[in-house]
Symmetry: C3
């Protein structure tokens, strides 16, 4: 196979034996130093908790936030590592890279996320220390999700060293846009339609657009799936699908907010499956279903409910969102991805445009509309305050204003994604990162010791 391509000139150097270990070691040592300087246990995870508790007259262990959050944390953790990881095993010869590099990115990114998000959200300005607890771990997983989504657009076309660069900048940009959207604009976005999905999707598309490979067709024999790689990908799909109610509700307010978020997400996802199947069947000869649609578009309902699930969108409102997203996302796989590739020179391996970018943007706007339509009669006086956190300096913000800010937040997320992605794309064009040649993409043999594919 190598010989026939000899006329293409010298292969790119994909040797990462120096760069990959160097980046990993330097990075991990930097993390240890920064954690040593900045990171401390928060009040609830510190051994002094027992004294704090007595001091504050807290009677029961269960009042520790940990017990409200931990089951959802583990569900989110599964989504990040098994969900995203296995969803990306669908290529016939890139399953190691799909699940393995996903693992690397997430383990790398979550440490940096604890620092960056902690810097913005839990820095004690007196002591200069950042305190971490269960909610920090969930947020770090969320933050990694942004970079993992971006990886979906790049799958098979970049080196692991490039992915670490993508993650370094991705996490940093995430922390900044999250701070702007949640803190400065005071948006609500518990499941991250804007902050995670719109940002992550457009970030990946921005990078992929800059890294356009005109001769990628030389790897076209490896772009498809084989039977069992599609079954592996269904593991990813199902764990994402099942645990999405936990994803959207993991950091909502205790009580009705968390409960309602789970219900709304569950409904939107169920509805989304039906319309995905419908459109997938309509689009193929003899009504056959396409695994690509089933693996991906069925999840779009969860993405699009990332903002509004917390609100009183009503159960049928959730179904409508899922209904539309199944159609839009499948439509994206059928027509928009080929269009982007052909006319915008944008190669999007997993179709993150259809699963994250577009549904995330829609989710942001749905959230804005539902927020603007909120009223005291529906939420109750205190319910409205609780849901939108109209307290302190936001005590007088009206729901209309809130809706406007939610829409503005969506635009901020997209802008950060596109501009950040373009800049990172240019950085990745330097010829030092060990990325594969155009005829060498989607192939695990470039970065992995691969023994046998089949046989004895």
């Amino acid at each position: 196979m190598g010989n026939c391509c000899a006329y293409l000139g010298p292969q790119k150097n994909t040797n990462v034996r120096v760069s990959l270990p160097a980046v990993c070691f330097v990075w991990q040592i930097a993390m240890i130093i920064l954690f040593g300087v900045f990171i401390r246990y928060d009040e609830e995870s510190d051994a002094h908790w027992v004294e704090t508790r007595r001091h504050e007259n807290i009677s029961s262990d269960i009042e520790n936030d940990f017990y409200y959050r931990y089951p959802s944390f583990q569900d989110v953790h599964v989504m990040i590592f098994v969900g995203f990881g296995f969803l990306m095993t669908f290529l016939k010869r890139y399953s190691f890279g799909g699940v393995g590099f996903n693992f690397l990115i997430a383990a790398f990114g979550l440490q940096w996320a604890l620092l960056m998000q902690g810097w913005f959200h839990s820095l004690d300005h007196t002591t200069g220390k950042i305190s971490i607890g269960i909610e920090s771990l969930i947020n770090a997983d969320f933050c990694c999700a942004g970079s993992l989504i971006a990886y979906g657009a790049l799958l098979g076309k970049v080196s692991p060293v490039q992915l670490l660069v993508v993650t370094l900048f991705g996490v940093t940009l995430f922390a900044v846009e999250e701070y702007i959207i949640l803190d400065l604009l005071h948006c609500r976005d518990s499941g991250g339609s804007m902050v995670i999905h719109a940002f992550g999707g457009y970030y990946g598309l921005g990078i992929s657009w800059i890294l356009y490979r005109p001769n990628l067709h030389q790897s076209k024999q490896l772009i498809g799936s084989v039977y069992h790689s599609d079954v592996f990908a269904m593991i990813g799909t199902l764990f994402l699908w099942m645990f999405w109610p936990s994803f959207n509700s993991a950091i909502t307010d205790h009580g009705d907010g968390q409960h309602r978020t789970a219900i709304n997400t569950y409904l939107a996802l169920a509805s989304c499956v039906l319309t995905t199947v419908a459109l997938s069947s309509m689009s193929q000869k003899k009504g056959k279903l396409d695994m690509v649609h089933i693996q991906n578009a069925t999840l779009a309902g969860g993405v699009a409910m990332g903002t509004a699930a917390e609100f009183m969108i009503t159960p049928y409102g959730a179904l409508i969102v899922g209904f539309c997203c199944g159609i839009i996302s499948t439509f994206g796989y059928l027509f928009i991805t080929p269009f982007l590739e052909k006319y915008l020179k944008l190669q999007d391996t997993c179709g993150v445009h259809n699963l994250h970018a577009m549904p995330g943007m829609l989710g942001g706007f749905v959230g804005a509309i539902v927020a603007a339509a909120a009223s005291e009669s529906v939420y109750g006086k205190e319910g409205l305050i609780n849901t939108f956190d109209f307290e302190g300096k936001y005590a007088n913000r009206g729901v209309g204003t809130q809706g406007g800010f939610q829409a503005a937040g969506t635009c901020v997320a997209i802008a950060f994604g596109l501009v950040g992605g373009a800049i990172v794309g240019f950085i990745l064009k330097f010829p030092i990162w060990g990325d594969p040649a155009d005829d060498n993409c989607y192939d695990d043999e470039v970065y992995w010791e691969v023994s046998l594919y089949f046989g004895h």
Copy 2:
């Protein structure tokens, strides 16, 4: 492969390009309308909860039922989608259909289940509204389980459109029989030995019996497994096995009931593995184990504890139930399934007779016996009342009577399954559903775009 069968006459028309999208769209739109008219958030998931709470002097968020139920809900969710889904990937060429149509059925069924079960259990007769919360979601998953079990008997022999019909009627029948058994007969059946497994199993067998295919042997080259499809199926087995304690305890009473149910189920399942291995080894030349038994019969202990796990069956009682069910279920795979096929003209792809119908029936009767043997000395005065809910108009029911009603409930479940299945079977015989021809069964290529099976 197609050519050699030409003498069989024209192939059936398996084109579902119109019917499948039509059913999905019509159905999903109907759901949106019905949800709009009927479904509302319950008190605990409504933003007014904060006011209700103050009104009722509830001090802590944790008293929200959500926090007791949510972890079990997610475990049940995993069982429905990954457990049932992957258990049905074992066929060499029907893994897409196994996991994919399972996904479709469940997403379709759970919406209808929320309406049907809500109609019977949480309809406010004043407002005409059904309120949903976390327990509704669990019950909807349970309700879908009935139809997914039925799918096990039909795997590879029906079209996705037929499966939606199976689900539509399956969920409806489930809601009715559940209402009769739990509300009218006042049975206890927290893990659904009767309501879910006996009903679902006999429902599938009833359908399959009517849909008997005399020439199914023409597809016999596709009825087996390949090495890795059996490993995929073990994913399903293990997630079902591990989470069965959550399944049986998901909607039991808080406290000792939930705790005891988990322990009993755990023990019965452990015991069941040993006797399954023993019988499987005994049955084969040189003592070799058969994957079919390990994948299925090891689960029969959980099925059979669906009713009695909540009771004071004692730990060794749980082990005995598991012991017997491992033997009975493996015996079923060895002798009863071939017998049913040969003499009763009943083709049961996954052997749901051995895993669900028979152990479910047994579980119903075990529950009846354990209930009839209950006493105040074992349960305590209040424990007995709590466990069997002897309150209100049932305050004077004795344990003997309760045992009788439990046995009657089992018969109701079986009757609903068999009769309902037969009727649905006749409906599915109309030549409009796009089902495959006899020489075209167990083949994903009929309803899925399949690229490569193996190779480059």
Copy 3:
């Protein structure tokens, strides 16, 4: 394939058709009898709980220990069955044995563990009864983990009957060494660095050392993986990796202890991934990653935090432990395993020396050092007492003494593992167990009905 080896003399008799069913039946019947005599529900899972509760003025269901433990219990359960099971599917022709025998061992072992651990920890000396509850189930899973780790060293070289013997003795030895370490020496070891990993690892190595097969190279064509068996193994890796915070924190004290344990484990594991990738890449031509390292060494950080995660090791301390363990474990796969095989005649199929024995031993010593370095200024007066349980007759134990006892506990675990393993190894050398011949190892066809590997 059989013919070419004819000159090796008669094949071993691997027929287990009598021995395997006999052991399973006898064992399961013995369990039923022993459970009948000894095992009862504990107070919280007994129907009398409602009366106990009123008696003790307990107001809320949530004070039932069940609700603190159940989510972690299920995570541990997943690690035992899916985690360990799928991690051992990596061999090209031993995936059935990997996941299937793991299932058998665990289901067998956990019943015996409930009895043995209950004997030491929850025997009521007045009534002679052992009471079990949710914590017993978690501990039983932990106890099985010891034998499953040992299986890792033996994978592919022993018969299922031998594995049941390994488990019988493994669980018994575990219960004794656990009693010595936790009760007599009063060590803290919530995640079992010493009790589970060091013991289990050395136990397996001890057995494997005695069972050395000089002609094992005759099976060398089956010792590797194929592409998709490596992807299956990643399922095991990821579920172990993700749920390790639950593993280490499952039986810690409620509140800050549980919270801190989860955070520390999460951080150590993240750090471990980076250094594993670094060393794996450095060790291969062109910097290619080796799946064996990614599947295994990434987990060493969790093993090594099994003791110290509960302590105030600080977040950067956790990162340092993970950093070192990734390096040490990968180094082990590269150099120590080949060394052991060549010079010490020790064949360790999964490399449990690198993943469990060595990191477990290290974890024990890290725990000793962190304990010895504890102080009231860091833990608070009560925090120190709570964390190390310095109450009753241990009220006057100092942290230095505690550190010494922790180190002694590690040595006890290793000694039990090595000596116990050697003795069990000799028992397994009797020619009655149906183990495979040297040219017949790593092959599922010996103990499983295998249909097709690939193809139609």
